[in-house]
Amino acid sequence: MEGPFAWGVLFVIGSAAAAVAFILIVFAANALLSPRLPTPEKLEPYECGMPPAGIAWAPVRLRFTAIALLLVIFDAEAAVLFAVAPAVKGDPAAAAAAGIFVALLAIGLVYAWRKGVLSWR
């Protein structure tokens, strides 16, 4: 690994490390400066002052499982398009291929639409 790419990777690692260091410093300062006076009431989950009813991790209906699948497909599409888009000005065959790819996914979107996946019932 050489050149700008290696620098980019190094930068990402470096700033993640810097962020972690910053967070540690801030929390250390917080721990030094702040009081520690826990009481049972203070440590209750906030539920508008009422004693909490049941647990918070109750089953929730995820209405968007199918939509999440669609997201994966379209995010992959976006990633591919990001790779293709700078080169669209060049080769006509490649641009046509990218166009067909977008069209196929558009048909997929229409299919999901007709199946009622996209309506929030």
Binding site: N30, L43, P45, A78, A95
Partner: protein
Amino acid sequence: MSAVLAAILPVLAAVALMLVNGVVLIYMLRKVLGRLHLRHGPLNVGPKGMVQTTADVLKLLSKEDVIPTGVDRWMYVLAPAAVFIPSLLAYAAIPFSENLRITQLETGLLFTFAVLSLVALGVLMAGWGSANKWSLIGAMRAAAQTIAYEVPLLLSVIPVVMVVGSLDLAQIVQAQSGTWFGIIPRWFVFAQFPAFAIFLIAALAELNQTPFDMSEAESELVAGFATEYSSMRFGMLFLAEFSNSFIMSAIAVSVFFGGWSLPWVPDSVIAPIAPVIFVLKTYFGIFVFMWIRGTFPRVRIDQLMTLGWKWLIPITLGWIMLTGLVLKLGELGGAS
């Protein structure tokens, strides 16, 4: 030694910039919202209340860090970091001027979007780890919303990338210098207006900003995913949030509003003050976000999903095809 210093300085600059942004933006938000509500906003601490947010940060630092019983400890403790780190990384590729960038990335645009999409993960961690119903509902809403609007956000900049032929934000800015007919600046907001409109809507949704702020709707969900956080952990979550709106506005400025350049002004005049122009434009973008926040009511979740999937995505796909077609036809016309 100097190489190490050269590597460390930009990172420190990014941290400093993020902190300053957080402090300035919170003050600005309170002032702007105050004016929009015909109030004054903060007034007492310092001249015109300018030191108010600094005082708030110091106060947060000295507050007790309450970790409620029953939380999923690892998730709860790590969530602020999981929100903060990608938010800092996103500063890497922002082009403040031709040479002033934290790092040179050929795929700057893609990188920025990639790290910003990690923020949603931290939000979900915060909501789930808090063991609180408000937090969980807020985080679930945020996840659904981010899922729905990530795609149009990514797709909306692709036409611009196709026209420029590069993912490097600085090159995208350079492609926008000059004017049409000597009057209209060559900014992509004019040539690519549909793309910009979709970008703006999707960016507001990605930032969980009004009118898409269901994930922390104060009147319904207390504070959404941040309900159980106190002291500096809360501060981290909010710092990251304000910093993200800076990033999003900076992307909008560099992709659609000509970045550091000004129309009708020669480059020799611009060069020394380029970063100032860039930051001013970005802050104006944030002001528009705040203006929208003070003006629009919240949309319903089903309206949000319908808008995202049934309108924005088909329109962007069509616009990408159209732009590609026009580009190709232009090339053929130019070649013959």
